[in-house]
Amino acid sequence: MNVIEVKDVWQIYDNRIVLERLNINIAEGSFVSIVGPSGCGKTTLLRMLMSEEHASRGSILLDGKPLSREPTVDRGVVFQRYSVFPHLTVLGNILLPLELRSSRVCGKFFGARRRSAIEDARTMLEHVGLRAAAPLYPAQLSGGMQQRLALAQALMAKPRVLLLDEPFSALDPGTRADIHVLTKRLWEETKMTIVMVTHDISEAFRLGTRVIVLERPSPDEPGKGARITHDIPVRARQTATPDKLKIA
Amino acid sequence: MHGGTKARESMDAWVRVSSLTYPRIGEDVWFNDRGLHMLTRKSFLKSGAAIASIAAASGVAPARSEAKKKFTLAWTIYVGWMPWPWAAENGIVKKWADKYGIEIDVVEVNDYSTSINQYTSGGFDALTITNMDTLAVPAVGGVDSTSIITGDYSNGNDAVILKDKTSFADIKGQSINIVQYSVSQYLLDRGLQLHGMTERDVKVVNTSDADMAAAYLTPEVTAVVTWNPIVEQIMQNKSAHNVFNSSQIPGEILDLVIVNTKTLNAHPEFAKALCGIWYETLGIMLADTDKAKAAQTEMGKLSGTDYAGFASQLATTHLFSDPANAADFTRGSSLITTMEYVRKFLFAQGLMGQGATSPDVVGIEFPGGHIMGDPKNVMFRFNADYMAMAAAKSL
């Protein structure tokens, strides 16, 4: 079953063709790594997947239906930076998706619902190793901890697909290794469908079930856009019915 | 001795700049500047900086004798003082200055209150000013000043205006918009006195003269005291009634030319020149000739109005055009009575200094030697000699 279908997508800015003739089908439970040299347009592709940009030609389907024109809760996102909210504590950041879902007017819980939500949030924090950091603000966390928080926050919203935009590029190798382990574990537990853009090829192969390479033709011509040059299966995807991380 | 050229040069520069930069509110630019012109913070700061630099210079620099002694007379826009710039522009000032071998600089100051403060700081040798303000600021401020020209008295230029009420007695209990501590308040006080009331019967709200006309239009304002041309402007409203004005206390609100007494004693030729300029100019402008009309038109333009506007303001100003009359008036007893009212008013308002226990704290000397107040602290003198010389044509 294909969660995402990218059908003959082109992206054109003014007279420059950035991406052309993209056709990708992403099956449920995959972990797709998209690599390519910088400036080739892989972030553009991701932006289209999250509806930050719209394709000039072609269409993208999610579960068979055309993508919404704006970002929605079915596509979670983790950015390289600014992925968490600086004005909320770690706990507050994790609580936020729950609060947004439950209270449309004031965006907050009260009483018993609040206590149970906090329980769920603490469980998630435990899961990603941030329990001790709960009362801290993101500015007090290291880069690695912030990205762990970002992942946890995104997963808390139970999205259909998780989009990662070079999430670990700013981390040092040691931290990156740790977070690779965490990411892999979370993916296996939630059986989430993940699309990750990265410029680190070893990372792409280490994490992904499939590596897609985007490259611009050489020599570089504005009249020609980047296209998929390699589509490499790496390992098996998570095939069981999606069984999201059990939270209480 | 008066401070040196350095002070005067910085003064000139500041005054020249300030006359270009003061903002005028509204297009009807004929606001009489005898009162408080609203100072913007910028100009207030500039004047403060100038005053400070003058203070430093004038306090420290010794007097230097020069080839030709230079003196300054400062004036502000007011119908009774417009002869000065006209005389300066038409060579009369230079003529008389040359006659006595001196140089006279006639400088305009945009704001009346500032001109007084600068004179008191030592920035000018002579100043056009009212009798009341002479006593309140330079005299009380320890700057011995002599009035050498009694130019005119306000004969209706200052007025108390009530909205929709026709009798002065109706002012009781009202809030009055007025420039506090100006001649307007003196007028108000005299009016209250003459009608058996005191300031306790009214409430005084300090209002800038530049905004008086606009303020009158608001419904909250029901009583104002102000001067021309603002009086004329407000009287254009049907609701306005002139219930009391300076023509009912003639001779009490005087416009003078004062000179720093120390300067005067050392250089009496300065006073002679000033008198010569004044009475020659008056002679020209008040005659029944075309030249007079041209002069008045020019003076009107210099004060932001036209011939008709200027003439109507002249009508409520009693100019002492004959120097003999001016000298007589200055020697007369009514002046003494007037100054008694004035100093009582200032003392009651607390304007004679913090430590003053009575109006006698400052002495006022009259022609003939009569002294009102402390004879050991005479700071304000009336001198009729130069006017008499003008009358005798011995200038």
Partner: protein
């Protein structure tokens, strides 16, 4: 050693900071003494003693006519006008700034207009203000609002626009509606920036307050300064000016403190 690498020590830094103040005071005392030697009644540069006596009179002696302690009642009157004006201004700035910053339709409609409006010098439209608002308290408070709100609105919506787009997208992917984004993401992050904006607007607010009081008033710090200027009472004016400066300084410190206590995360977030 290059001068750019020379650093004063801790004590040195304090001495350096105090030096200009001390110099000004010393120069003043010298100039004042010179003038007073020539004329003991000199008004331009009153002696410290005279100013102290003036403060005693204004702040610690009851006024004969009204029974008030003038400096106290002046301060309270001015602070009330300032407080009301600023409260209204920040409320307007907050609502309009955030709405305009977040909603593209509103942004297109209002940004040019607000920019133009902020160029109108408030003191020049004073006569119109009188006709509309009278010459009482309302006019003074309105002048303060007109003078400070446009800057704060513009500052605020520029800050909203500066917010990383990533945050807005993240919020949407967490399921937030526009209203929820405003309430839970934008507003909490703009509140400390509003305090910064307010701190910067305090200076102009004082200017407008004093100008307004110069026009038609019966009390207030600006009123008193313009009133006694008529008879050149620098011994009252200088202490009043120093007092206003001290008040402005205190408010700035209080606002910074408020920002630090209410928004402990802001300092860290700003540096990132």
């Amino acid at each position: 050693m290059r001068i750019i690498n020379l650093h004063p020590g801790r004590r040195g830094a304090r001495l350096l900071a105090a030096a200009p103040f001390v110099t000004v005071v010393v120069l003043y005392l010298i100039a004042s003494a010179i003038r007073l030697a020539a004329n003991p009644d000199d008004r331009l540069l009153p002696s410290i003693g005279k100013m102290v006596a003036a403060v005693k009179l204004m702040a610690f002696t009851q006024d004969m006519a009204t029974g008030d302690y003038l400096m106290v009642s002046d301060t309270l009157a001015s602070l009330q006008r300032l407080g009301e004006g600023l409260a209204i201004a920040i409320s307007i700035a907050f609502v309009v700034g955030i709405a305009v910053g977040m909603v593209p339709y509103l942004r297109r409609m209002f940004v040019p207009f607000i920019a133009a409006f902020s160029m109108v010098p408030p003191l020049a439209i004073l006569p119109i203000l009188f006709i509309v608002a009278g010459i009482g308290e309302a006019a003074k408070v309105t002048l303060i609002v007109i003078g400070t709100a446009p800057y704060m609105i513009r500052d605020l919506f520029m800050r909203v626009e500066e917010m990383p787009k990533a945050q807005l997208i993240k919020a949407q992917t967490l399921g937030a509606s526009s209203w929820q984004i405003a309430l839970r993401v934008v507003v909490p992050q703009m509140l400390p920036r509003l305090i910064d904006s307010l701190r910067l607007s305090l200076g102009p607010a004082w200017i407008y307050l004093i100008s307004a009081e110069a026009i038609a008033a019966q009390d207030g710090l600006g009123y008193r300064i313009f009133l006694v200027r008529r008879y050149f009472a620098m011994d009252i004016i200088i202490p009043y000016v120093l007092w206003i400066t001290l008040l402005a300084f205190l408010f700035d410190i209080l606002l910074r403190l408020l920002q630090r206590i209410a928004f402990p995360w802001f300092a860290g977030a700003k540096s990132q």
